[in-house]
């Protein structure tokens, strides 16, 4: 023991983790899973000012994700596992003799096990003026913040040195920031590591079509600066000069192994801390290295996250004295770069002896697909550019002879028989999710042994598909195949009355122009249900389908008309929300949340006169509670008279489009979010859908309207609007996905029209957009293909359906209070219309009313209440 007292040495052995990136975080999770956080003191030294975040998704910061969104660290986890996390305090020295780490702050930690996960640093070529003002690297959130700041104030053009994966992302980001963007790549093609010349050519065409300028086969010789030392351009190896105000170096990364070098650990010739198959350093059994700083036992430094995760698991297992080894990893990647699918897997460059290529190339469409086949027909690897749909299947077959000819795997649909390779053809040890190393057998086990029946359940059970998501499609096929194989009769029918799904019923109703529920039940219901009264599940569902399509079918869109009235849940039937004591609540529409003082006063007066409880809702509305059924027409007569209309809070329909105050008042706003919210709300009001729809519009990236938690959310940019879809709050929150960027008003509305109608057409009953998007095959990519690229050729029809809805909208409450026959239903008792229901009563609370609930004779549900009745 030295005289310097180490900080908090306890009786438990100590694990010190140096570096808290993605791999470091995974290591911590692996420790916790193995119970090591209970038996060990765990200390983490993190250099960056924030804990681990999703570096793979770094660029999504520029499409609206906040640093908080990117975070991968659940502080509750850190606390629960009693991990000591020191942020912004890097390790400075390691004394291996004394087994002691000293941090920059001066804190000293004694360790039993030291794990280095220091990652890598961007390589900046040693060209003159490489550190000039306006030169950046692209590695951390801080780098991005600095680039954004400089681009906004001091640059109109930017150049990226390096045309690899990160370089292309950086160039896309510069363009997104409004700069003219150049890519300078020394190799003769883009993404030289992943693709070959053919793939590079397909990629080049697509990238250039996006407005990026690409210079391949040239090196950077010098950064040119003005007298103040700021970048003005760069000299290239072909003698030309490129004018630019900003340079991003993205010329590869190098392992961060200085700490290891300084304490005498062996590093590779080209860097990387040398470790064995257990990820233990070759010099010191107490020290491990994982992730991009490690030189693995197979002599490679892995720059991908999946092998890093595997190393993290290996190190944790070894510490727990379990058997584990890391002997090398698959370098397969599938990514979406600037909207282009790029994938490479296996022996992508055909290094195997006697191998042959099967190539399909269509430069016009930006497509390039190459498979590398061994002399015995084994699939060895391949490259896919422009369409990587088959990646999951192909990768799983790598190393075996596929059951169909390789040509049929790359030919586009329509050219010969498209190959349908079912996942059942895969062997059990085929890796389906390479990020988390989940094999087909494990997924089958999740279904057969753990009784998972849906993809989300399998994801939760196995972790498959939870990192990059590229395998989710194959996952879905596997789950269904397994369910069918295990004899689980998957009855996809809507209910006991209909064997069809909601989507199938929608298609039947639309195609055959069916306007009557009974007609549909008697013709298409299950045998025993025909001629019957249906049930409480299919009646509202079919009522909603008919209402959604009413103008197109030639039916009445008014939900209280004719047979429609008998199909509606009580909320729709009384155009108000039933509350627990049998009274109703009322929500007038306040489009965008904007309201005049006069209208506010009317709401106040109505609530006061009828003794209603009032509350402001989360959707920027005012909800009035405690109305008895016979009061609803009188209340609405006054509201309609003051210019209010139904807010559809009772319907599976558009509820609210909330907004922030936007450009008009806010010093940060860049668009008029209130106007857009009002426009959207008035356009989609009354639209019946499989479930409720919520929306919001934010006037800038600060996102005060919380649009990313909505079914469709809109965020203003300097150039227009970004459209996010399928977000959700509530019990299962989901961040919305970016569907399209920088849209004009008209483009935005057209896309939302299509998106909503496609959702209404294909969703299950009571399926919010968030679960719908997670469920449907192809997920976000498929929805984008359909509504942005019109891959199914149905966009005209979707737009027409929405146009019909918009043209035929009528206010249900205005219509109802002018129809004596409809009004006659709003009575307490058919034989005593004016006698209030004696069971609806109230007691005071905080100067308002609350329901006076009866005591119940059956104890199924605890209810609070004070009444004696």
């Amino acid at each position: 023991m030295s005289t310097t007292a180490p900080v908090g040495t306890g009786p438990r052995p100590t694990i010190v983790l140096v570096g808290h990136g993605m791999v470091g975080q995974r290591f911590l999770e692996a420790l916790a899973e193995r119970g090591l956080t209970a038996t060990h003191r765990v200390v983490v030294l993190c250099e960056e000012p924030r804990p681990a975040y999703d570096r793979v998704a770094l660029t999504s910061y520029f499409s609206g994700k906040t640093p908080e969104d990117l975070s991968m660290t659940d502080m509750a986890f850190i606390e629960k596992e009693r991990i000591e996390l020191y942020v912004g305090d890097p390790a400075e020295t390691v004394d291996r003799e004394a087994r002691r780490v000293t941090a920059k702050s001066g804190q000293v930690f004694e360790y039993d096990i030291l794990v280095l996960a220091t990652g890598s640093y961007p390589f900046v070529p040693p060209v003159p003026n490489k550190d000039a003002e306006g030169c950046f690297v692209y590695r951390t959130i801080e780098d991005l913040l600095a680039i954004e700041e400089y681009a906004k104030t001091k640059a109109t053009t930017g150049a990226v040195v390096g045309g690899g994966l990160l370089g292309l992302e950086a160039a896309g980001a510069l363009k997104g920031l409004g700069l003219g963007a150049h890519i300078v790549e020394f190799a003769p093609r883009l993404m030289p590591v992943q693709v070959d010349d053919g793939g590079g050519a397909a990629l080049l065409r697509t990238i250039e079509n996006m407005g990026l300028t690409v210079h391949t086969g040239v090196g950077t010789q010098e950064i040119v600066t003005d007298e103040s030392g700021a970048v003005t351009g760069m000299k290239l190896s072909d003698g030309s000069e490129l004018a630019t105000d900003l340079v991003v170096f993205s010329a590869g990364v190098r392992p961060r192994d200085q700490l290891a070098r300084d304490c005498g650990l062996t590093v590779g010739e080209r860097g990387g801390i040398t470790v064995d198959e257990q990820c233990r350093t070759v010099n010191d059994p107490h020290v491990f290295a994982i992730g991009e700083c490690a030189l693995a036992a197979d002599g490679r430094v892995y720059g991908l996250v999946a092998p890093g995760y595997e190393q993290a698991e290996t190190a944790a297992a070894t510490i727990a004295a379990d058997e584990a080894s890391f002997t090398g990893a698959d370098l397969s990647t599938k990514l979406k770069l600037l909207g282009v699918d790029v994938a490479s897997f296996g022996d992508a460059h055909g290094a195997t002896e006697d191998c042959l290529d099967v190539v399909y190339s269509d430069s016009r469409a930006g497509l390039y697909k190459k498979l590398v086949i061994g002399s015995d027909g084994t699939l060895l690897g391949g490259i896919l550019v422009g369409d990587a749909e088959a990646y999951g299947t192909l990768k799983a077959f790598t190393g075996s002879v596929p059951p169909v000819s390789p040509e049929s795997l790359v030919l586009p649909a329509g050219a010969g028989e498209p190959a349908q390779l079912g996942p059942s053809a895969l062997p059990d040890d085929a890796i389906i999710c390479s990020c988390n190393n989940v094999r087909k057998g494990t997924i089958r086990g999740a279904v057969t042994e753990h009784k998972c029946t849906t993809v989300p359940e399998v994801k939760k059970c196995t972790k498959a598909g939870t990192t990059c998501g590229s395998c989710v499609k194959v996952l879905g096929q596997l789950v269904n195949a397994e369910l069918e194989a295990s004899g689980v009769e998957v009855d996809k029918g809507l209910c006991g009355c209909f064997g069809q799904t909601r989507q199938e019923l929608y298609e039947i109703v639309l195609a055959l122009r069916i306007t009557s529920y009974q007609d549909l039940l008697d013709r298409y219901g299950r045998e025993g249900a025909r001629g019957g009264d249906g049930c409480e599940i299919c009646k509202p569902a079919v009522g909603s389908i008919i209402a959604s399509l009413a103008p197109t079918l030639g039916a009445s869109g008014y939900v209280l008309d004719g047979e429609q009235a008998s199909l509606q849940d009580t909320n729709d039937h009384f155009l108000a929300n039933l509350q627990k004591n049998g009274s109703y609540s009322i929500v007038p529409r306040i489009p965008g949340g904007e309201i005049t003082p006069e209208k506010l006063i009317v709401i106040g007066e109505v609530a006061r006169d009828f003794g209603l409880y009032t509350k402001i809702t989360g959707g920027q509305r005012i909800d009035m509670f405690g109305a008895r059924v016979e009061q609803l027409p009188m209340i609405w007569a006054r509201l309609v008279d003051a210019g209010f209309e139904s807010g559809h809070a009772y319907g599976k329909a558009l509820r609210t489009v909330k907004s922030c105050v936007g450009q008009t008042w806010c010093r940060y706003g860049v668009q008029d979010s209130v106007r857009m919210a009002i426009d959207l709300e008035l356009r989609y009001r009354g639209l019946r859908s499989p479930h409720k729809l919520k929306s919001a519009v934010s006037g800038c990236q600060r996102e005060c309207a919380e649009a990313q938690s909505k079914d469709f959310g809109v965020i203003a940019t300097a150039n227009g609007w970004n459209l996010y879809v399928a977000g959700n709050g509530g019990a299962t929150p989901r961040h919305a996905d970016l569907l399209a960027q920088d849209l004009s008003d008209a483009e935005l509305i057209r896309l939302i029209d299509r998106f909503l109608m496609f959702y209404i057409r294909t969703a299950d009953r009571l399926e919010r957009t968030s679960t719908w998007l997670e469920r449907i095959e192809g997920g976000l990519d498929h929805v984008r293909d359909v509504v942005v690229h019109d891959s199914l050729g149905i966009c005209d029809e979707l737009e027409k359906l929405m146009a019909d809805h918009v043209a035929n909208y009528r206010d249900e409450w205005a219509e109802t209070i002018n129809d004596p026959e409809k009004l006659s239903r709003f009575v307490s008792f058919v034989n005593a219309p004016d006698t209030p229901d004696p069971l609806v009563s109230f007691v005071p609370e905080r100067d308002q009313i609350k329901p006076d609930l009866p005591l119940l004779s059956i104890g199924t549900r605890p209810l609070e209440g004070t009444a004696t009745r």
Binding site: G528, D533, D569, S828, F829, N831, D837, V840, T860
Partner: protein, 122 residues
């Protein structure tokens, strides 16, 4: 329960338990097939009266025993295995319209009334 011929003169009548009297509620024409209405009975209790698509009438107590609210008349009716039911609009438990028994909880039932449509001298 009787089939209701198409006539506007018919009244809905409920047999009050204990008394043997038929209590006249309202014109049959006030009922919508597939939906219910609430009726106030002389003893202060409430009945939920339903008309199905084939014209049959049913009546059960209007009070939902799971919540205490008088709302069963506002539920949706349906048929399961040929038997008619209403689903409570609050927590969706289903009640057999002929027996009053809850289909989702064996221990719970509501009163079922005998109901008919009949011509009544004015």
């Amino acid at each position: 329960m009787t089939l209701a011929p198409e006539t506007t003169d018919l009244k809905v009548q409920l047999l009050l338990d204990g008394t043997g009297d038929w209590f006249t509620v309202c014109d049959l024409a006030l009922l919508t097939p597939g939906r219910g209405v609430a009726a106030l009975l002389p003893d202060g209790r409430q009945a939920a009266i339903f008309l199905d698509r084939s014209g049959r009438l049913y009546a059960i107590d209007n009070r939902d025993p799971f919540t205490g609210a008088a709302v069963l008349s506002r539920g949706l009716i349906g048929s399961a295995q040929g038997r008619p039911f209403v689903a409570s609009p609050l927590l969706k438990q289903r009640f057999d319209l002929e027996s009053g028994k809850c289909l989702d909880d064996d221990e719970v039932a509501v009163t079922a009334y005998e109901v008919r449509s009949a011509g009544v001298a004015v």
